[in-house]
Amino acid sequence: MKAAAVGFLLVVAASPAFGDACTGAETQLAVVFRDLARGEPASAEEALRPVVRDHPGCLDILLAEARIEAAKGDAANAGGMFVRYLQLAPEDPRGYTYFGRFLISQRQYQQADRISAAGLEKAPYDPGAMALRGQILDMRGESQQGLALLKQACQADPENGEAQFYLGTIFDRTRQPGEAVQHLQKAVSIDPHNARAWDYLALNLEPLGKEDVADEAYRKALAANIPGPNFDAFLDYNYGRFLMKRNQLAASKQHMDRAVELVPQVRAVWYERAKLDLRLLNYRQARIDAERAASLKDPAGIIIDLQIYSLLEKIYRHLGETDLARKYAELSRETPVPPRGDHR
C-alpha cells in the first residue's frame, strides 16, 4: 500500500502540469486522486477544497474537478472541463488518459479512440497513454497491438493499476489464468479498493485450483464493492457460482438472490439460480428461474439455448410435467452443439 502511494506521487510529481502553482499541494492532490481512483468523489471533493483555497492557479484542480464531475455523473460538465484542461495543458498525457477513460465510460468510443491516439502521439512512452491506447486497440479487435502496448505500459510503470487490471482481463478472456493472476494480483496490490480486479482475480484463481485463495479474493471484492461508477454488478453472480461448486449451497443462494436483483436482464444469473434451485430440490422455484432465463436473449452466448433446454428438461421431469419434459428432451437432442475453436 505504501509502495503504491509513493509510486503514484512519483508519477504525479513527474508530470508536466505540475508547475509552480501546484507546489506544496502534492500530498493533498495525491489524496484527491487516490479517492477518485477508489470511486469516492465526495471524499475527493472534500480533499480538494484546501488545494483550491491555497493553490488557485494549480491546473490539477481542473483535472480533478473534471474527474469529480464525471464520477458524480455530470457528464456534460465533466466533458467540458476535460476539454478545457486539454486546451490549457496540451502536453500533459494525463489529460488524454483521464478524458479517454471518461469517454469510454460514456460509450463514446470513437472519440475515445481519437483522444487515446492523440495522447500516445504526445507522449509515446507515457504508461497511462500506452495503457489507454492498448485498451482501445483491444476493444477495436486489434488484440495483438493492444496487448503489446499494455505489456509495455506495465513494464514502464508496474504501478499503473489500470494497465495491470486491463492486461489481466485480456488474459482472463483468452483463458490464460496464470498470466491473468499475475497482473490482477498487481492491480489489487496497487488499488485494494478495486472490486472488479478482486473479482477477476478470484475467477482466475479458480481454474488454477487455488480455491481457498479465490474465496479470500471474492470476500475482498465484496468488501470493496461499494455503489458507484466502479460497482461490480456481477460479483455476487460469480461468487454465488463459486460457492455452488464448493457445495456451500445456502451461502450461494444468498449471492444468487442478490445477483438476480442486480442484473435481472441477464440470462446467466437466472440460469445459474435455477441450477442452484435444482440442487436444493426447490423445483418450483427452479422452473420460475429457468423459464425466466429462457425468456431472455443472450447475444454474447454466455448461456446458450442448449443449456436452457437441458435444464428445463430436468426441471419439468422432476415436476412430473411429462409433455414439457419430452419437448425439451427433444430440443436438447436436436439443438446442434456450437463448435469450439479451430483446434484443441
Binding site: 483463458r175 490464460q176 481454474p207 485450483g209 428432451a329 436438447s332 437432442r333
Partner: protein, 554 residues
C-alpha cells in the same frame, strides 16, 4: 425392509467414519516397466501435419490368454501415415505373456497378433465359450477379431465372423469396443464405438506450420456405432439398425456397460467427443432406447457436451446402482454421475469434490476401482492433452501426470496423486489404460499406454492391512466369462458392496474380467450374491477373504 435400510445406513456410517479427508492415503503405485522386459513403444506414426488419428490410439488389454491364472498384456499400435499400414515392426501390436515373476515375454509373433492397419482399441472376452479369451482389435481402417486357439496362437476370423467394422460399404473408424450379452442368450455380442468420418484424403490441418495442433472433431462428421449379434455358430450379424443403434450418430470414443436400472438387462454408455453422450437402455434384449438426455448423462451439469473420452460404469457410491466416471479435456472437468435409482443420474463432479482438480486435467483412460482395499471404489484417470504441441500454451501441457482420487466414503473424493508415489507424478502422453491384478496380490494394478514412449506398469504397492476378494465368474448357461453378472457382497462388518463382471470401460481398453472387492478389516464375507445374466441367483455364505474365488454358475 426397514432393517435392510438401517443396516445399509449403518454400514455407510461405519465406512465413512473409517475414512476421512484428513487421513493420509495409503494408495501407492510403482512403475515396474523397466524390470518387466516389456519393450513396447506406442508409435503413432505422426507427421508434421498432426492428423487427428495420431492422438487417439493406445488401447491396452489385461487378459489371461493362456489360462495360467496370471494376466497377460496386449497393446495396440499405430501405423504409417497416410498409408495406414504397419510396414515395420515398430508398428506391431504386442502381446506379452506374464512370467509370474514380474517379467513378461513378448509372444506376439507366435500368437499371430502383430495386426494390420492403424489400430486403436481392444476388447477381450471368450466369445465362443470355449474357455479361451479372444481379442477384438479396433482401428481406423481395419478391425480384427482374433480367435484364441488355446495353444498360444490366435486366428484372424474377421471375415468369417463378419465383424469387419464396415457399415454401409464403408469401414468406420472404430475406437473402443465392449463385449456384452445384450439379449442374455449366453453368447457374447459386440458393441463397437465409432468416431469420425476421417480419411487421409479429407484430413484437415490446424494450427500454424511447424506447430500443428490436433483439429477439433467438429471438422468431421460423426459415425454410428455398430452392434454385432453372436449367432452361436462362429458368425455374427450386424443388428445395429434393428436394435436402434444406427439412428444415433455420435463421435464415440469410450464405452462401458452396466445394468443401470436393475432390470436384468445390460445397458451401454457411449462417451462421445463434444457431442451428447449416449445411454442405450436395453429393452429386454429386443433393442435399445437412447435415453442419455432423459437420464441426465448426455451433457454435463452445465447442459453442454464435453470432450468425453474414457468412461467407467460402476457403483462408486456403494448404493447398489452403477454410476459413471468420464474423462474429458482440461477446462471441462471430468463428469461424475451418481445413479439416483429411478432411471435418473445426478451430476456429482463438484459435489464429489473432483471438479476443481479435474478442471486442470485432460484424461483418457478411466477406472472406478478400490485401490486401497478399504471398501470404497476410487477413481483413476490416465492423463495427457490431445495435441503434442499443446505445450505452446502455458495452461495446457501435453504430457501430464495420471491422477488417482481416493473415495472418502461420504460421497466425496480427494486427489491423492501427489502422495501416491513418484510414478504418479510422471508426466507423459498417457492414453488408454487397463485395470487388473497383475501379480495376484489382491491389489488392482494399472497398465497405461504412452504415445511415443514405453507403457507404465503401475503396480499397486499400497500398504495397509486391508483385506480383499477377487471373484472369477464362470458361466454355464450364461456366457462363459459371466459378463453382465451382478455381484453383491456383504462383509462380516455388514458393509455391502456391488460390482459386475465386464472387461469394457476406460479408453479403448479392456480390463481384467475378474471382479475385485476391497474388504477393509473384514477377514470373512457373510454373503456373496451373484445374479447371472441367465437369471439365476447364486448365494455363497461365510467366505474367507484374501483369495481369488472361482464361482461356477449352478
Amino acid at each position: 425392509m426397514l432393517q435392510q435400510i438401517f443396516s445399509r445406513a449403518l454400514a455407510l456410517i461405519l465406512l465413512a467414519s473409517s475414512l476421512s479427508a484428513a487421513e493420509p492415503s495409503h494408495i501407492r503405485f510403482e512403475n515396474r516397466e523397466k524390470v518387466s522386459a516389456v519393450q513396447f513403444v506406442l508409435n503413432n506414426g505422426t507427421t508434421p501435419d498432426k492428423p487427428i488419428i495420431d492422438s487417439t490410439l493406445g488401447g491396452v488389454a489385461l487378459l489371461d490368454y493362456d489360462n495360467d491364472g496370471y494376466l497377460d498384456i496386449f497393446f495396440t499400435n499405430g501405423a504409417r501415415i497416410p498409408s495406414l499400414m504397419k510396414d515395420g515392426s515398430s508398428f506391431s501390436n504386442r502381446l506379452y505373456r506374464n512370467n509370474h515373476d514380474g517379467t513378461f515375454t513378448d509372444v506376439t509373433v507366435r500368437a499371430g497378433l502383430g495386426g494390420a492397419g492403424y489400430s486403436m482399441g481392444v476388447a477381450a472376452a471368450d466369445y465362443d465359450n470355449d474357455g479361451w479369451t479372444d481379442l477384438y482389435v479396433t482401428g481406423v481402417n481395419q478391425n480384427i477379431l482374433y480367435h484364441n486357439n488355446g495353444d498360444g496362437t490366435f486366428t484372424d476370423v474377421t471375415e468369417r465372423t463378419g465383424m469387419t467394422g464396415v457399415s454401409g460399404g464403408k469401414k468406420l473408424w472404430s475406437v473402443s469396443a465392449a463385449w456384452i450379452d445384450y439379449d442374455n442368450d449366453g453368447l457374447l455380442d459386440l458393441f463397437v464405438v465409432n468416431y469420425l468420418d476421417w480419411t487421409p484424403e479429407n484430413s484437415h490441418v490446424c494450427g500454424p506450420p511447424g506447430r500443428r495442433l490436433s483439429c477439433p472433431p467438429s471438422l468431421y462428421k460423426g459415425e454410428a456405432d455398430i452392434l454385432y449379434h453372436n449367432n452361436g455358430d462362429g458368425t455374427f450379424t450386424d443388428v445395429s439398425a434393428a436394435t436402434g443403434i444406427t439412428g444415433q450418430i455420435g463421435k464415440g470414443m469410450g464405452v462401458a456397460i452396466a445394468d443401470y436400472d436393475g432390470d436384468g438387462w445390460t445397458d451401454i454408455f457411449v462417451a462421445n467427443d463434444n457431442e451428447r453422450n449416449f445411454l442405450f437402455r436395453n429393452r429386454s434384449g429386443k433393442g435399445f432406447d437412447e435415453v442419455g438426455v432423459e437420464s441426465s448423462v448426455a451433457y454435463t451439469e452445465d447442459g453442454v457436451p464435453v470432450s468425453s473420452m474414457g468412461v467407467d460404469f460402476r457403483d462408486w457410491a456403494n448404493d447398489g446402482r452403477p454410476g459413471l466416471f468420464v474423462t474429458a479435456l482440461g477446462g471441462e472437468t471430468f463428469p461424475l454421475y451418481r445413479n439416483d435409482g429411478n432411471g435418473l443420474f445426478t451430476a456429482a463432479t463438484y459435489p464429489a469434490d473432483i471438479g476443481f482438480t479435474s478442471f486442470r486435467m485432460s484424461g483418457w483412460g478411466a477406472g472406478i476401482y478400490d485401490f486401497d482395499n478399504d471398501g470404497a471404489k476410487d477413481l483413476f484417470s490416465a492423463n495427457s492433452h490431445v495435441s503434442e504441441n499443446a505445450n505452446l500454451d502455458s495452461q495446457q501441457h501435453y504430457r501430464q501426470a495420471n491422477a488417482v482420487f481416493r473415495n472418502l466414503g461420504n460421497g466425496t473424493f480427494r486427489d491423492v496423486s501427489a502422495e501416491a508415489g513418484a510414478a504418479m507424478r510422471q508426466r507423459a502422453a498417457h492414453r488408454g489404460c487397463a485395470f487388473g491384478d497383475l501379480n495376484n496380490d489382491g491389489k488392482i494394478d494399472v497398465v497405461v499406454s504412452v504415445i511415443g514412449g514405453p507403457p507404465e506398469l503401475l503396480y499397486n504397492i499400497s500398504t495397509n492391512n486391508n483385506h480383499w476378494i477377487t471373484i472369477q465368474a464362470i458361466g454355464v448357461k450364461s456366457n462363459r466369462d459371466g459378463i453382465g453378472t451382478r455381484i453383491k457382497i456383504t462383509g462380516e462388518s455388514g458393509q455391502v458392496q456391488y460390482n459386475h463382471v465386464t472387461t469394457a470401460g476406460s479408453y479403448a481398453s479392456s480390463s481384467d474380467k475378474r471382479v475385485h472387492f476391497g474388504l477393509g478389516s473384514d477377514t470373512r464375507i457373510k454373503e456373496i450374491e451373484l445374479r447371472w445374466p441367465g437369471g439365476k441367483i447364486q448365494v455363497l455364505r461365510d467366505v474367507k477373504a484374501d483369495q481369488i474365488l472361482k464361482v461356477t454358475e449352478p
